[in-house]
């Protein structure tokens, strides 16, 4: 369950990191690894897919030591997709929370129902 969830949201997390600043593969992996458990092998296939979708572009930056680095940058469509994903994600989380905590949810629903009456009084 946990791994499945993570796989689906990894894409969104990468886009979110890129929304803050352009980055390269190793940096992306390190940042993600700070907050969650990820397998490094999934990053390149994922980046290739994001590229194929037209959500990210790449550019090369020469480095003083070793080979040049490939930087990834978010495109306008990528930014838009990220925004949509975030909305979907928040809705989903809210739905799941309302199932996991039925008491709180039913209280919230009751409050909603009571509220209009309050206005009448």
């Amino acid at each position: 369950m946990k791994t499945q969830l993570k796989k689906g949201t990894l894409e969104m997390c990468v886009l979110a990191l890129l929304a803050r600043a352009d980055s390269y593969a190793y940096e992306l992996v390190s940042r993600l690894a700070d907050c969650m458990e990820i397998s490094e092998g999934t990053v390149y296939p994922l980046m290739r897919r994001l590229q194929a979708e037209g959500w990210v572009t790449t550019y090369l930056v020469e480095s003083a030591s070793g080979p040049s680095r490939k930087y990834y940058a978010l495109t306008a469509t990528g930014r838009q997709s990220l925004a949509e994903m975030q909305v979907e994600w928040r809705e989903f989380v809210a739905e799941v929370n309302s199932v996991l905590a039925p008491q709180a949810a039913s209280e919230a629903a009751q409050a909603k129902r009571n509220n209009p009456q309050g206005e009448v009084e």
């Binding site: 940096e27 397998s39 296939p45 994922l46 897919r49």
Partner: protein
């Protein structure tokens, strides 16, 4: 596994891809190794965390094949996809064999429909040509007295048998049974045979056509089709062939679409890009 082994295995397994794409993939992984080593990690650790290079390459290959096939739906590209998926262990034999048999029947069905359609076109064309130009003359089919247009008149006479054999097993036999008076003309080769029997009263008693895919056997026709029958048979064949080809074509398109979707789905599963709420 150290960096060199990883890169060598990856490069070898990427052999089928275009050079530019291969170069880019290799550069990506070289860059990653460089960054990771600079970060103080060991080559072995990084190689292990990146996964099996062979499997990585097979996934990339399968993706490339699927893309090639989607941009150009040729049979060659289709088998490329099937091969790539089989290489990934996605299509196991239990699945692949019925699928291959299905493809095989589909192909045969399409070929047979095509032949029927062609025969229908020829027959209908004959009828139209006959109506317009009185040529060729259509006469009762396979009836010896008037069979000039359809059956070559073979003067067998009293010869008991003619037997001609070719070097590769081809054989033409004209045989007359002295007791019943039935004449049998038989031509056979490696791929099939034609057999025609003429009754003593001059009617054709039996017509048999066969090849390695099937056989047609007509018996006991007696003064059958005339001009109208040629048209109706022709139209019937046109209809049967047309329907067969249409169904075949629809099935082929459906199959291709399903296969493409299946391939994409499997690849997505393999790369772990599916599942979870992120995408619908």
């Amino acid at each position: 596994m150290n960096q060199q082994t990883f890169m060598q295995q990856l490069e070898a397994a990427l052999a089928g891809l275009p050079a530019a794409e291969r170069g880019e993939i290799l550069a990506d992984y070289a860059e990653y190794f460089g960054d990771a080593l600079a970060d103080g990690r060991s080559e072995e650790e990084v190689a292990a965390s990146l996964g099996d290079p062979q499997r990585l390459a097979r996934e990339l290959q399968a993706k490339a094949k699927l893309q090639a096939w989607e941009s150009r739906r040729s049979v060659g590209n289709l088998f490329g996809v099937i091969g790539a998926l089989a290489g990934l262990g996605v299509l196991n034999f239990v699945l692949a064999i019925p699928f291959m048999i299905y493809l095989w029947f589909l192909t045969i069905g399409c070929v047979v429909s095509g032949v029927l359609l062609f025969a229908g076109v020829v027959l209908t064309g004959l009828w139209v040509s006959n109506s317009l130009f009185d040529w060729p003359v259509i006469q009762p089919l396979l009836h010896q007295e008037q069979a000039a247009a359809w059956v070559a008149r073979v003067p067998v006479g009293d010869l008991p048998q003619i037997d001609i054999r070719g070097a590769k097993g081809e054989q033409v036999v004209i045989h007359r049974d002295p007791q019943t008076g039935t004449t049998r003309i038989e031509a056979s080769g490696v791929d099939g045979s034609v057999r025609l029997e003429r009754h003593v009263d001059g009617t054709v008693s039996r017509l048999e056509l066969s090849d390695d895919e099937g056989a047609v056997n007509l018996q006991g026709f007696d003064g059958l089709p005339d001009r109208g029958a040629v048209l109706s048979i022709g139209l019937g064949l046109l209809l049967a062939g047309g329907i067969g080809l249409t169904i075949g074509w629809l099935l082929v398109r459906l199959t291709w679409r399903v296969l493409a979707r299946f391939g994409r789905y499997q690849l997505a599963l393999l790369s772990g890009e599916r599942g979870g709420p992120g995408r619908g």
